[in-house]
Amino acid sequence: MLPSDLLVARARGGFVYPLYSRFLDHELYIADQLIEVFRSNVGRERGKLENDVKEIESEAFKIGCDYRFARGLAHLLYRRANFTKPEVKVSPLKARLEIFTEVSRRFGGFTLSEEEKREVLNVVARRLGLSVEDLITAFRAAYEDKEILESFNEISAEELLKLYNLSLTQTLLFKALYLIADVRISGTDAKILLFNVKKLGLMYVAEKTSDGIRLYIDGPASILKQTERYGTRIAEVLPYIMAAREWKISAKVRRRGRTYKFYITNKLSYLFPKIELRRAEYDSTVEEVFHKRFQTLGSGWDVEREPEPLVAGKSIFIPDFAFVKGNLKVYLEIVGFWTRGYLERKLKKLKELKDVNMILAVNERLACSKISALGYENIIYFKDKLSAPEVYIILRKYEGVRLRPKVRRRQEEVPSIPSEVEEFLNRLRVAKLSSIVSELEKYGLSVSQIVRILEDKGFKVEWKGISLDSVIVRKTSD
């Protein structure tokens, strides 16, 4: 983002658009020059760097660039620069205060001649055990232009211009009254986008469109008065929108006392840096463990980690998983910290999602209020870890199998049970599932198959958690 006075934009016919760099030769040249100035000044004083930058700025102007263009690039480069304080023998503050105190004591507040000045510097230098030069160096070290450019985060000319284009757009949005984004977006990206919208204190309304989702973004007070208040925050949201597969942005923007429309689509995305949001990180270990467990279950359902977001009423619902089998699609949403009110609102939201199959997994440990009947069919409560087989049991319902106290295996899926297994089970009374699995794995049975066999044989499988250690298997027919 740039200071507002470096925004270069044109207004025409009610529209405003930033003057983007199109990577023309002279623009690349200026960008290269500036980068070189920063590179070559590493280890030198800031004042020297600033002078060199100013020279490039006036050179840019001479070859027909807007001076705000060069200054904008320089602004972005300064942000990639690290400055350190110069080395001194005594802290600048100490040196300065000693000098000022001495001047007031000796000469009533100021030195009016070279002799007086030398006298003060000599006295203070001697007192601090320094040479006069070292004292003067320390005195001046308080000035910003004496800082040393320690390092500079390299960037190519083209990338710098792309970054500049993004910053120009954000700077234009500083004065945005609201923003409308049409996006085709993955669930994870939508989650990151909406998380940031909320974190910044903005509000959104979502709408389903023929080819994606439309988001209206503004702030709480926006319905009461047209305000630029949320502009800087809307600008911060921009990269998250641009990370979508496809995007269209329109905004109402104030400029010099008038209101303009701004419109841009991903057709111009080649002008901007490629935005990669941090992804593939699970929101919580619960989800990660569940995902791994479900995949090893051999259930025949495919799991998607990034299902597309769903529009529920005016807001967006982003499930954690989608399970796909043929034409069937079932979503799973894991609820972490919750209160009864939160859960009720969530369920209300779910009811607005017609024709959508949804399982809700609620973490009991993170409950802030007591659980009681909430009247939602597909709800699983869990502690610490979500049981993959339990979810599978619900999924089977969608396969057309009615859920019974015991899950009835379907004919074609019946694993043939080796006689050794039968014997083992006949002896079994109570055991941890983990030990049963380690015993039976060698017969080529998956965990879910083992569970089904156990239930068929009249064992009660108590799910205390997903860890096989915490699943207790008990013979009930005895």
Partner: protein, 457 residues
């Protein structure tokens, strides 16, 4: 009668549609949340409205900072300060008090806090004023004190914030205080800062200023944002008895021959551009149009640079340095403040004369120590750019020297105010003006401004 649940949501107040409840006009239906929403400034009005109609309000709006304030030193109010406080209390603890700089506006605000003993947000323009308020609060009260701004984000029973931070964090601060004090309240009505008032639910509001009028006329919004002007006294009514008297000495400084030639060359260049393009400089708008053209238009840019260069010469004529030394020679040991708008000049004076400098670049720690040292007399002189512009208390300074300035009415009065702090003896204000350049006009304008003030107060 109906029950209404009123909640606070990030600078606004919200209630759900309720059968049998008429909706006040300042609420609007927000379909994003299916509820009525209003700016938090209408909180008191909303309560009045519902109560008058006999509704029960379940009020979740204020979430006040917990704590207490104890008075550790008695606040002695001068007559007019007491009158001002009573006028404000009569107006249901809302309104603006207008008093000249140096007359102790802060004490009136402290008395208001002492009266209500409620969580209070104080909004000030500069970090220096934050420091100053902090030391005043600590002097009279024992309480938890928070600083909000300049890198700090602490909330206390009494919280002091800059306008900038209060604007940015208006949603967070909006329901935590019952009283909000706007120091130098003439800043408030601008399109950004006003939101501090609009997004706040605080029922008690106090504005302080010496100069309520704004050139853009927005001071008409005081009644809505803070309250009516409830008390007003001018310099003339208080001078002599409460305010130190002062002399203004204008010294015209001639340009050196080569500076003068260069100055005239630059002015000619600038004026030629104006003539060629038929631009008449009537207002700041005309000037802005040149700046806008200067983006790509070489001529415009050169004209602009010529103007800046000429201004620099006029403001920083090398002769001024010599004259400054002459003036200073007469005031060794006095408490002297030197003002100049140009930070390069500040640095030059500081380095050459070894005077502590205060600019927006001065580090926090050094600024505090220097100002405190100046107060106690450890440092006898300081040189500063615009950071001390408003209301900063520099007691006992008896000499001020202005080396440059833009000659606006408010700025001049406020700056004068700094040497007007009640003290023994007289205060002198020197103006060093470049002769036969634009600057002489600035100087006479200043005097007129002063005349105006005296006449109108």
């Amino acid at each position: 009668m109906a029950t209404i649940e009123l909640i606070y949501d990030r600078g606004t107040i919200v209630f759900k549609p309720t059968i049998g409840v008429e909706v006040p006009h300042f609420f609007k239906f927000d379909k994003r949340v299916n509820a009525f929403r209003a700016l938090a400034i209408h909180y008191s009005d909303a309560l009045d409205f519902f109560k008058k109609r006999g509704h029960k309000v379940v009020d979740h709006v204020l979430n006040l900072v917990k704590g207490d304030v104890t008075i550790v030193r008695r606040l002695r109010l001068r007559d007019y300060q007491g009158e001002a406080l009573r006028a404000w209390l009569r107006a249901r603890s809302r309104g603006v008090i207008v008093l000249p700089t140096g007359s102790g506006k802060t004490i009136v605000a402290l008395a208001a806090i002492a009266h209500h003993k409620c969580p209070t947000l104080v909004v000030v323009p500069t970090l220096e004023l934050m420091d100053q308020w902090e030391s005043k609060v600590r002097k009279f009260f024992s309480t938890s004190l928070g600083r909000y701004g300049g890198g700090k984000k602490e909330i206390g029973f009494i919280t002091i914030s800059t306008y900038d931070s209060a604007y940015i964090n208006a949603e967070t601060l909006g329901n935590k205080f019952r009283l909000i004090v706007f120091d130098e309240v003439h800043h408030l009505p601008s399109s950004g800062y006003r939101q501090i008032a609009e997004l706040s639910a605080a029922p008690y509001r106090l504005g302080l200023t010496a100069t309520p009028e704004r050139e853009d006329g927005l001071h008409v919004d005081f009644p809505y944002l803070v309250g009516e002007v409830v008390y007003r006294r001018g310099v003339r009514e208080l001078s002599g008895r409460y305010l130190a008297s002062f002399d203004v000495v204008t010294i015209k400084v001639k340009l050196k021959e080569e500076e003068k030639r260069e100055y005239e060359r630059l002015v000619k260049k600038y004026k030629a551009y104006l003539r060629k393009h038929g631009i008449r400089m009537k207002s700041i708008k005309d000037f802005e149009s040149i700046i806008m053209r200067s983006g790509l238009d070489k001529e415009a840019r050169e004209a602009l640079l010529a103007w800046r260069e000429a201004r620099k010469i006029a403001f920083n004529a090398s002769e001024k340095m010599r004259v400054l030394k002459e003036v200073l020679a007469k005031h060794k040991g006095d408490k002297v403040i030197i003002f100049t708008e140009n930070t390069e000049m500040v640095r030059r004076i500081s380095e050459e004369l070894l005077i502590p400098e205060i600019t927006y670049k001065t580090n926090d720690n050094e600024r505090k120590i220097v100002l405190e040292g100046f107060r106690t007399g450890k440092f006898r002189a300081i040189v500063t750019s615009r950071v001390l512009e408003e209301g900063v208390d520099v007691p006992d300074a008896n000499v001020a020297i202005i080396l440059s300035g833009t000659g606006s009415r408010r700025e001049f009065i406020q700056r004068l105010g700094r040497v007007l702090r009640p003290k023994d003896g007289r205060a002198i204000l020197y103006e060093l003006v470049t002769a036969r350049t634009g600057e002489t006009r600035v100087s006479s304008k200043r005097k007129r401004a002063l005349g105006d003030t005296n006449a109108s107060l």
